[in-house]
Amino acid sequence: MSAAVVSDALEQEHVESHLHPEPTFDLAAHPLPTGREEVWRFTPLKRLRGLLEDVASVETLEWKESLPAGVTLTRSSTDDAVALGGTAPFDRLGALAVKNAGGALVLDIPSDSEIEEPVRLILHGTNADAIVWSHLVVRIGTHAKATVVVEHSGSTTYDAFTTVLVGDGAHLDLVHVNDWADDAVHAEQINARVGRDAQLRQFEFTLGGDLVRTSTNVDYAGPGGTAELFGLYFADAGQHFEHRLFVDHTAPKTVSNVVYKGALQGEKAHTVWVGNVLIRKVAEGIETYEENRNLILTEGCHADSIPNLEIETGEIAGAGHASAIGRFDDEQLFYLRSRGIEEKEARKLVVRGFFDELIRKVTIPELAAKLSGQVEEELQRHVLADLA
């Protein structure tokens, strides 16, 4: 076989990453998983409490929103929302959310607008047993700039499909705070399309819930786009927090930077981080880096960390990844304690320092302060309590 035949065989119009199934809204194409599939093998399916079943529900979360002037939130039919664009669901959870949500909410930030005040969507669940489906589109027009914060709290069994459309030259900061009650289940698929020369910065802060499984999938509508995906999670005893990322470099000169950091404490705290990057043949001159670090604070925790890089062109500016799972660094503790700092305080300093890099990136000061406070509370609950 000649080289040309091989390359023709590899390079089709749409190269599908072997790491991901074909995206489609068609539920039949996303059969019930057995739990052995690559994309499901880490998730305790039973604990999804029926979210993989095709059951109708009219339940919703309580919504409160704060919309600065110019920003609109409107109801739309499913068809109209889908027609706005973006990648179809990659898995059954995404397809079910679209099918059963009974329409979508569309958050619109008009082109050329610079919105100083953050857009806030405050979602609260009041019933752990009620299944809630949700379909949301966040659309920011060309050259606009805004910050959108989605806050989750309370009890629910919740499955959301969120499409994020970042117009050419636009800048969007999208912050998800997943601070659920201990009995909440939250699955979400966030499919983002980054426009030409646009910038998306996404933050995920997962601090509470029985099971949280999010998958963020990013691709690029044109060259020059940047996606920065940051995450912080803090899992306690029994909690399962899973963050899946897929950056599909579909255009040249695009940039992706993924940094997720997590801490785990207590029996059977389990976190999963999967970071997939696909560099397509067309994606020349791109730059990608992904990093995941986990800090195991007590015995009995389990962290999985899996970076995957699939490269179909060598003509790139850079590609790298780093993954680490570690305990408290005894040398760091010794150094701090040798300066008179008590063990408890030394541990606090180390964990704060570990997360500081991410929290500092949050541009809303009161949110950054609230998040540091929550990290502190988490620490107090376990690691520091044991040393009291």
């Binding site: 760091q332 304690r337 008179g340 063990e343 300093l349 320092g353």
Partner: protein
């Protein structure tokens, strides 16, 4: 007053191949206001002595005593030792990402004094200490030891010595890896500390170079886990001229 008394100290390290005895009965006393230099070849156990006194968990004390002004140091935790007045300037200071120098210094000072330093004078003190060590004021916003050059790490250790004001400072090869300018800055810092009333210094070094700038009261030659010979500053001069051979041969 500050007297550090080490008597017949025996220390071992537990390795996969079983325990290894490193210190085999070390005895020395640093009296009020004295500076002692410990010199020895690589692997003689100099650093083990420093880390054992500071309480590093890797080292197991199997015999002997260490007291500071009569108080038993070995029963104290690492942080209690520091609060009792011991300070260890490390050969390889540890990076603590995300913790700023200024936050670190304030937390340490508060822990050692038992109360937070007065804000106005403290900022001045910190800036002064950094300046004396030729460290830029923006240095305090950097993460502890992260991305510091070798010289910056050592100068940061001595800035801490100045600010935390211990009774006895143990300097573990603080001179190693420094160029001559940095060595002078570090030596000046140590000498300023020595000028304070009743401060003890245990200076551990491989080279005689630093002793041109810091004149010790006593010099101990350390070989194979114990003091082989003690003397005045002239002993350092002999080492400079003849090296460690005489002691190494004697110990075999």
């Amino acid at each position: 007053m500050s007297t550090l008394e080490i008597k017949d100290l025996q220390v071992r390290v537990n390795t996969e191949d079983g325990p290894i005895e490193i210190l085999k009965g070390v005895t020395l006393t640093i009296n009020d206001g004295e500076t002692h230099a410990i010199m020895g070849p690589n692997g003689s156990g100099k650093s083990t002595l420093a880390y054992s006194i500071a309480g590093h968990p890797r080292y197991e004390v199997t015999g002997g005593t260490v007291t500071l002004d009569g108080e038993d140091v070995l029963t104290m935790s690492v942080d209690e030792r520091a609060r009792a007045g011991l300070f260890l300037a490390m050969q390889y200071p540890v990076e603590v990402p995300g913790v700023s120098v200024s936050n670190f210094l304030r937390t340490a000072k508060t822990a050692i004094d038992g109360e937070a330093p007065k804000l106005r004078t403290w900022v001045k003190d910190v800036n002064g200490a950094l300046e004396k060590m030729n460290l830029d004021p923006t240095f305090s916003q950097r993460s502890v030891n992260e991305g510091f050059s070798g010289g910056e790490k050592k100068r940061h250790e001595i800035a801490q010595l100045e600010l935390l004001d211990p009774k006895v400072a143990i300097l573990d090869e603080t001179d190693s890896g420094l160029d001559i300018d940095a060595l002078k800055v570090v030596s000046d810092g140590v000498n300023r500390f020595r000028e304070r009333d009743g401060k003890g210094v245990l200076l551990i070094t491989h080279y005689t170079r630093i002793l041109r700038y810091i004149t010790p009261d006593r010099v101990h030659v350390f070989v194979a886990g114990k003091v082989a010979e003690s003397g005045g500053p002239e002993l350092a001069e002999e080492l400079e001229a003849n090296g460690y051979d005489r002691f190494l041969n004697a110990s075999v």
